[in-house]
């Protein structure tokens, strides 16, 4: 180490120290306390909240008729709503598909064929809850495969339930 370097080291070692705030250690302990208060109860609370919300959602999905999955395109029309129902044939290839329900006094309404396995119809209905079924080739009544909401029809079969919001 030459003279200049020695001088430099001497200067470096003589640089003054910064004073630490007198309450520094207490501030550290406060931060530790605060973090523990935040992490433990809140961490558990967060998990609990997520699980609770998931449970509420599942209950609402399977045991209520709330419109959780709006599979319908609805637009306002002076008190009426436009509702588009779709039917997808999964295996067989029906020649005709119709829909019948409370909204048509259980008269069948023919659906329009969109492509090889899908049919569509746009209904004009007032807000409310309606039972309905699809009618395949004029003879086979099936509930909507895309709807989770089903109800017994009183004749040993099952109808789907359509909920049309009023908002």
């Amino acid at each position: 180490m030459d003279r200049k370097e020695e001088k430099l080291v001497n200067y470096l070692e003589r640089l003054p120290q910064m004073s630490v705030p007198s309450d520094f250690s207490f501030q550290v302990m406060d931060r530790i306390e605060a973090r523990q208060r935040r992490s433990y109860p809140f961490g558990n609370f967060k998990k609990l909240a997520i699980v609770s919300l998931a449970l509420v959602f599942l209950v609402a999905l399977f045991f209520t008729e709330l419109p959780l999955f709006p599979q319908l395109n609805i637009t306002g029309l002076s008190g009426y709503r436009r509702v588009e129902l779709k039917f997808y044939a999964l295996s067989e290839n029906p020649k005709t598909v119709a829909v019948a329900g409370d909204f048509s006094d259980w008269n069948t309404l023919q659906m329009e064929k969109k492509d090889n396995n899908s049919w569509v119809i746009t209904l004009k209905v007032k807000p409310g809850k309606y039972q309905y079924s699809f009618v395949i080739d004029g003879r086979e009544w099936v509930p909507d495969p895309r709807s989770y909401r089903k109800i017994e029809d009183g004749f040993g079969g099952v109808n789907s339930v359509l909920v049309v919001n009023g908002g």
Binding site: K4, E5, K7, L8, V9, Y11, L12, E13, R14, L15, P16, Q17, M18, S19, V20, P21, F24, S25, F26, Q27, V28, M29, R31, I32, R35
Partner: protein, 192 residues
């Protein structure tokens, strides 16, 4: 204070006597705070980062390897806290020509005066030297600044610096040599 060693205090903390950690903080707050201040050159940031260092140490205490000195371990945490700070601030390539502003000068006023500053002429000379030296340290690349601060301002050994930075001792010596060379170049006239 207490007669307990660092290891004994750590055992107390790990056994649930959390307040004992305050003793460790009080013992190491000054070197850690000064090390961080030398690195980041902002008093509020240094205070925040130093607190952060101790909080991190508290929560990592169960992973503390007692084959190391606690002092080495806490410096390593402080070093990583500073590296994170620079990474976030994207200051790794901090400009070499960054001017010293009023704010920085005012922060130096907080330093505890040394004996050599009592003569008014010496004060002027030393303040100028000190500011230039501080600026030269600040302008060093981070990796050089880390070793120069640890070695010459904190007074740590090559082995301790190697353990803190994770660099081989040979590299530590090389960095120190190059850092001192840079400082000499910056301080030219003051070292004549």
């Amino acid at each position: 204070m207490t007669d307990k060693t660092d290891r004994e205090i750590i055992v107390e903390v790990l056994n649930g006597n959390r307040d004992f950690f305050c003793l460790l903080v009080q013992k190491y707050e000054r070197p850690i705070f000064n090390y961080i201040f030398r690195m980041v050159r902002s008093k509020p940031d240094a205070e925040d980062l130093a607190q952060d260092t101790f909080v991190k140490a508290f929560y990592a205490l169960n992973k503390y390897d007692s084959t190391y000195e606690f002092s080495t371990w806490i410096y390593r945490i402080a070093l990583n806290v500073c590296r994170d700070y620079f990474r976030k601030k994207k200051l790794f390539l901090y400009s070499l020509s960054a001017p010293i502003g009023d704010e920085e000068e005012s922060e130096f006023e907080d330093f505890i005066p040394q004996d050599s500053f009592h003569n008014p002429d010496d004060v002027l000379l030393n303040q100028e030297l000190r500011l230039n030296l501080e600026k030269a340290i600040q302008d060093l690349p981070i990796k050089f600044r880390e070793v120069i601060v640890l070695r010459h301002l904190e007074g740590l050994s090559y082995d301790e610096i190697s353990s803190i930075t994770g660099l081989p001792v040979g590299t530590v010596k090389t960095y120190l040599h190059r850092a001192r060379k840079k400082l000499q170049d910056e301080l030219g006239e003051f070292l004549e």
